[in-house]
Amino acid sequence: MNRIFSKQTGEEHKARKTIMEAVYLSLFIFLFLILILSGTSNLASTALRVSAVAQGLIGVAALISFIFSRRGYTMVGAYFLPYGILLLTFVLINVTGVGSINALFFVTIIVIAGVTAGIRGVVLFAALSIASAIGLYFAQANGLLTNKSPVSFVTPAITIAHILGDSFGLFFLIRIFNKNLHSALDANQELRKLQASLEQRIAERTRDLEIAAQVSRQITRVLDMDILLPELVEKTRQGFNLYYVSLFLYDQQNEELLLEVGTGKEGALIKSEAKSFHLTARPSLVAQVARERKAEIINDITKSDIHFFNPHLPDARAEAAFPMLVGDELVGVLDLQSETVGRFQEGDSQIFSTLAEQIAIAVRNAQLYRQQEHVAQELERTDLMKSRFLASMSHELRTPLNAIINFTQLIAMGVAGPVTEEQVTMLNTSLSSSRHLLQLINDVLDISKIQAGKLNLYIEEDVNLNEEIKAVVDMAAPLLQKQNAGLEQPIQFIQDIDHDLPLTACDRRRTRQVLLNLLSNAIKFTEQGSITLSAKKKGAEFIFAVMDTGPGIPQAMHARIFEPFVQATDDIKHSQGTGLGLPISRSLIQAHGGDLWVESKMGEGTTFFFTLPFRPSTTQ
């Protein structure tokens, strides 16, 4: 019974369950046929009743056995059904005394047992059936069975003969069936094994690809060849379980292959011997692969005359080399050596070829990166030199000029002795020229800083723009006076300024510089009419405007006046500026996040506008 109750293997269970289900179905059909056939004979009424009850009971037995088989106890289920039917047979025979169909019942039971429970079922139920037939025979002979119906009786002998014949037939059928079932199961098992080994191979290939992918990822991340390549060959060697991995780079100019890196101590050793050879070198697998630009595998180096034996690699047994190509261009060769004869197979070849391609791209990238880095360093150096030059210019050029200005001033003041009026005039001219030169130097330094991107603002919080405007107006006053001195009708200076401009963050000095530049320009170019300075706050910004009634600037010059060293007029009298004031001013305002522009009409005048963003104090 242990075997019966033990859970079955999935395969067996499934097979038997299918059979059981088929049997239950055919049984119902069989009983239904009896029902139909018996309808025409005189057995009708009894057979009808028997059949109906039998169908019901078999249904119950089938259900119970089906439940068992569902739970995996197929054998229990298989035994349950014939048992149930056997019991039913006894009951029916005893109750109805219908002997004519008992043989049929017995045979049915054995068939069911055979199909569902196998050979053991056939033997067991055949024995039980024979025993019950004999039992019936004796029961009838001794009058224990009270005949309730007058139906003719088929002798137990016939029943036994039936049972025996059918049992043997079934026995052999089942044996054949079981054999087939087992061979089918065996075949299935074989298939499983095959599948498993296939899965393992897929796993291995996946792992190889993963290593290749890992190496590739590494490749794209690291741009420094000195870091990248040693890691790369080591990863490849470990990942693919190889003896030695090395990379040769191709020197196009000399047609030479140079060992760039090799794994382990051997790699360092071989590299220290400065291993490089010409493209035509023989024997050399690497050189051949480089020449032909085609991967080559030597799975047994003893049978090859291309392999170059390296005394540092005594355990090499197989070698494979793959060209590193970017497009058609040879970057180098990836060389792999293994201690195992026959290490490199078809599948490997593809992976390594792809890997070699990836490395080629990486090396090319790294080479380009190296070049770029070199250029960047060069630029940085130039930049640094430029900065130093600017700083020293600023000091070295100004120091002597400062002396000139101050001495001239002192002499003109009479500090070093009396000077004539004529001398004072000359000294003052010299002084203003010196100051102009100083301004020029300052402007050139400013524009150089702007062009070098080195102009930094010094932002102060809470700058009072009203104060700054006043300071600029004060500074411009002498210029205006001087201009007015040569005019019949003095220029009117109008201020249209909001008196409570809110405090804002800005570069005070630079803001002054811009405003002074615009004002002095206006004074310089205006000979009649007025100059209006306005400053208002509008939304989130301040708008400044310097409007004059000068000659105006032709439309074509509106953009050009903001280019360095360009002036709107060729008039020598007016060309005293540096030509840098406007470009510097615009850059300073733009650095603040504002804008500076011009509106002008020939003959009517010019207005320069600029905006400064309003930046209230952040610390309260």
Partner: protein, 136 residues
């Protein structure tokens, strides 16, 4: 403190600048003398060797071997000159430099070339204790 005749010390490596300052201080401002010292490690010793306590130090910024900022910290390191007025003289007035001077503890800065007309007034303001940033 000598409020009548203030004592000025000037540290500068450019001869011409020294000459200009001497003329301005001695001839225009009419002070007896301008003390000129060298940018050296013994700067504080030099000051002490003068025999008078200076009212105002005028330090050039771009000097070798010690620049004005370093000299200032030497001065501030000595309790005797903790309260002395120290003014930076500078030719290149970049924004970075000005913020450096302000945060460095200078009491003011005066731009080069010297504005000779304004200079005496600035010194008077400094001695009164005002901070002077005459750098535009």
């Amino acid at each position: 403190m000598n409020s009548q005749k203030p004592v000025l010390v000037y540290v500068e490596d450019d001869e011409n600048s020294i000459l200009v300052m001497k003329m301005v201080v001695e001839r225009i401002m009419g002070l007896p003398t301008l003390y000129v010292l060298k940018s050296r490690a013994d700067f504080v010793q030099q000051v002490k060797g003068l025999g008078v306590v200076p009212d105002v130090f005028l330090l050039d910024i771009q000097m070798e071997p010690y620049d004005g900022v370093e000299l200032l910290s030497m001065l501030r390191g000595d309790p005797q000159f903790n309260q002395s007025k120290v003014i930076a003289l500078t030719a290149s007035v970049t924004n970075e430099e000005v913020s450096l001077l302000k945060s460095g503890g200078f009491d003011g800065a005066i731009a080069k070339p010297l504005n000779i007309e304004a200079f005496p007034g600035l010194i008077a303001k400094i001695i009164k204790g005002e901070r002077v940033w005459h750098i535009t």
